[in-house]
Every structure is written in C-alpha cells, then in structure tokens.
C-alpha cells in the first residue's frame, strides 16, 4: 500500500512538474471586456423570455436589468477600447499568466467539493459527504499522519451531529 502511494505521488509529482511549466498568457482586460460584453448581450437577448411585464407598469421589471446591462456594455466597450488603443499605439497590453498546474489543482479541489455535495445530496446524509470531504482533502494534502485523519473525521461527524441533533437541521 505504502509503495503504491509512493508510486502514485511520484507520478503526480512528475505530472505536476510538467504542468507547472505550461502557462497560458491571456490579454486579461481584452478577454474580460469581450466575455462580459457577450454575457450582457445574452442577458438582453433572453430578457423578453425571462421577464414578463404588464402594460400597466410605469417602470416595468425589465427597466433595471436593462439599465445594468447597458452600463456593463459601456464598461466592456471602455475596457476593449483601451486595449485596442494600446495595440494600435504599440503599448504593452495587460497580460495575465495562467499556470496550468494551479488550475489542475483547483479542479481537483472543485472535484472534492462536488463529490461532497453530490454524496450528501444522493444519500440524504450530510455526514457521508462530510467524511468524503475530510478524506478527499487529507489525500489532496498528502497527509500521512494518522492522528490527523482521526481528528478530522471525529470533528466532521461531531459537526454533523451538532447540526442534526442539537440545532435540529435535518440532513
């Protein structure tokens, strides 16, 4: 078992080192401007389907979200315009470096969170998800101290029990 864990960790380390070298550079302001401009346009597009209005309304339910999306579009236009101006005048753009290893690790954490959520939901027992969460994070952190496993699991069960039996939250 120990050997298998070592092997697994070794493989992950090698993979991690490879990923660590991989980076993506994105013109962050340009991407943000474009992404939110598309988002604002999409919201404006679905507005008639998503917000019913009455003819009696002095100011209807679409007015405020429309105003917000207009402001968002204006801000996006300013962001994009600023970056395009920089491009035209050959000034350096605002770049952001995305490290693939960090994103992969974030995805692993997200996986633990999603696992916790779905296990709790499907079993109807929060404690099952809580135990999975503890084990997931302890393995993620490559924790080798048995006492940490015991402490974390006991606290996880205690939290569930406190909510379930003392505070009366049913899960």
């Amino acid at each position: 078992m120990k050997q298998w864990v070592e092997q697994f960790n070794g493989r992950m380390d090698a993979w991690g080192r490879k990923l660590h070298e991989k980076e993506i550079r994105i013109p962050i302001d340009l991407v943000t401007g474009l992404a939110f401009a598309i988002f604002a346009l999409a919201i404006l597009l679905v507005m008639p389907d998503q917000v019913a209005i009455s003819e009696k309304d002095v100011v209807n339910g679409r007015a405020f979200p429309t105003l917000l999306m207009m402001v968002m579009l204006l801000c996006c236009a300013m962001l994009i315009g600023k970056e395009l101006y920089k491009l035209a005048t050959k000034q350096p753009l605002n770049w952001k470096v995305i490290n693939i290893q960090v994103e992969a690790k974030a995805l692993a954490i997200l996986g633990i969170l999603l696992g916790t959520y779905f296990l709790s939901k499907w079993t109807g027992l929060f404690v099952v998800g809580a135990v999975f969460c503890c084990l997931g994070f302890l393995l993620y952190f490559r924790c080798r101290k048995k006492s940490y496993y015991v402490i974390t699991l006991v606290i996880a069960v205690a939290i569930w029990a406190a909510f379930r039996f003392v505070l009366g939250v049913e899960f």
């Binding site: 309304d57 606290i155 205690a158």
Partner: protein, 320 residues
C-alpha cells in the same frame, strides 16, 4: 498540541452523542411556517408550540419558519408522506391567489393536505392618510366619487391585501382610478400612508396601530361583515354590511394527505386546548389583535372558494 486537539475533539463528539441519545417520550410534530419568522403566523405557531407540552404528553409541537411561500410548501409536499410527523401552514394566499394567478409556482394542490385546524383569523383594515379626514365607508364613497386617482399601499403586489383593495374599490366602480403601490412589508405599507406617499393602506390591525396612535392615519373600515368588536379599533365599520366583498386572513395547519384520522383528530384536539388557554386568547386578542377561529373542513373550503371568486373577479385590476 495534537493531543489537546484530539482530546477536545473526542469530548465534543461524546457530548454531541450524549445529547443526540437523549430519548424523547412523546412524538414531535414539526410545524413548518412558510413565511417570515417575524410574521404573524410564525409567532402564533411558536406560541402554540410553547404551550403544547402543557396540554399533551404524547404530542410536542415544534415551530419552524422557513420563508419561501409556495417554494417551501413545494419542498414540504415533496419531502413528506402520509403519517409523517410534519405539519405545514397554508393560507388563502396559496390556495386561492397563487393557484389562479401563477399555478406553475405550485407543485401541490388542496388534495395533498388534510386539514387539522385554523389557529386565528385576522381582520384587515383600510387606513387613510390623516389629512384626508376619511373615517367611514360613507366618507370613502364620497371621496371615490370625486374621480381622482386612488393610491393604496399594500404588502406585496398580489397579496391578500392587494385583492381586498381591488375588491373594495373595484366594486365601488373605481377600479380604473386605483393604483396599488406594493411595499416589502405590511409595516412599510402602514408607514407609507402616514408619510402621505399613498392615500390609503390595507394592513393587519396590529401593523397600523402605532401609526394610528401617532395620528398619522385614520381607520376607514374593516374587511369583515360587521363592525370590529374588540381592541383599539372596536366600532370600525365592516365593509360587508355595505355590500362590498371581503375576506379574513386565515392560516390553516395541514398534515400530509392520508395521515391517520385518529392522529389528525388528536392534533385538532390539542390545538383546540391551546387556543382555549386564557393566556393564549388574551395574547392573540390584545397583542396580536387577532381572533381565535377554529374551523371545520367545510368552513375551510368555503373560505378558499370565497377568496377564489374575489380573485377571479378582480384579478385584472391587480395583475393588469
């Protein structure tokens, strides 16, 4: 440090287990109120729950308020089955208003419940900006005849209060003059009339009492058959005697359909005892300005149908 953490964790776990292991002699019935914890129904439910142990060794009521209206009741219906020790509040807002205006919001019907008891009834009152000097139905009729715009503050755009206002002014032939101004709470609506933002407001009696005592508003009429009999608004005219439509606000305690009739009868009996408690009666009358109002299934159905007919008649004024 590690040992300390371990020992603390173990002690916590043991305490929790001990607490969890405490046996319960009587069945605990959870009463879910799908409205705000500070609302009238939640407070009455809490009061009933507190009293339940004094009147029964076999049933303990536990009050819980999860605001969410139809969504909370949807969840309740989905999560419960016959004979579960769960009760829920359902009012005319859901059974008579939402079911007509927005049935898609409701994943349940009256048939999903079995009626246990109605705890109280509340007579809504129409208040007016004190400057208008309107304190009777006759004054109101004269004011309406002037043909000016009538603005009424209500708690929520399609609430019971909104329909009562629409029914009253609509039946006076002033539906086109009526402008309903929705507020986030009944207390806010009551304040609006005192500030002169609207000319009128519809609210529970307890919610307008303070404004009335501060002389910010006058009480025009009550949405009931006869005059109000008790409390600070005793003598206020009921609109029913002038031929105008009305209904009282009621909140029914329901069990899941199919629940053992004996259990339902036992619960009804317990609620009956609690509602007969002198302290509860006094609290309901003097503090909450409500009336104890136990009902039969036939009464409930009649109430639901009455409100439905009002909603059908005046929904164009309210929802546009």
């Amino acid at each position: 440090m590690k040992k300390r953490i371990l020992s603390i964790a173990l002690v916590v776990a043991m305490c929790v287990t001990l607490l969890a292991g405490c046996g319960q002699k009587s069945a605990t019935w959870k009463v879910t109120c799908p409205w705000a914890p500070s609302g009238v129904a939640a407070m009455v439910s809490q009061q009933a729950a507190t009293k339940s142990t004094s009147y029964s060794d076999t049933i303990t009521l536990v009050a819980e308020a999860i605001k969410g209206d139809a969504a909370t009741v949807n969840t309740w219906v989905a999560d419960t089955k016959a004979n579960d020790t769960e009760l829920v509040f359902v009012g005319e807002g859901l059974l008579s208003i939402t079911s007509i205006l927005d049935p898609a919001k409701m994943q349940f019907g009256y048939e999903d419940f079995v009626f246990v008891e109605n705890l109280y009834s509340s007579i809504f009152v129409l208040s007016a900006d004190a400057k208008l000097n309107i304190d009777s139905v006759a004054d109101l009729e004269a004011y309406v005849k002037q043909g000016t715009e009538i603005s009424v503050a209500v708690n929520g755009a399609t609430s019971s209060e909104a329909f009562l206002a629409a029914a009253l002014f609509g039946s006076m032939g002033a539906g086109n003059q009526l402008k309903l101004t929705p507020y986030q709470s009944a207390a806010e609506a009551a304040q609006a009339v005192a500030r002169g933002e609207t000319q009128f407001a519809v609210s529970h009696q307890s919610q307008i009492l303070e404004t009335y005592q501060q002389k910010g508003a006058t009480i025009v009429c009550a949405f009931d058959e006869g005059n109000i009999e008790n409390g600070p608004f005793a003598g206020v005219e009921g609109v029913g005697q002038h031929g105008y439509p009305y209904f009282r606000n009621r909140c029914f305690v329901m069990a899941r359909a199919g629940t053992d009739e004996k259990k339902v009868a036992e619960l009804k009996e317990l609620y009956g005892k609690i509602l007969a408690d002198a302290e509860v009666v006094e609290w309901l009358q003097n503090t909450m300005l409500l009336e104890v109002d136990t009902m039969s299934v036939a009464d409930v159905e009649a109430h639901v149908e009455n409100v439905k007919s009002i909603v059908n008649s005046y929904k164009d004024i309210v929802a546009g």
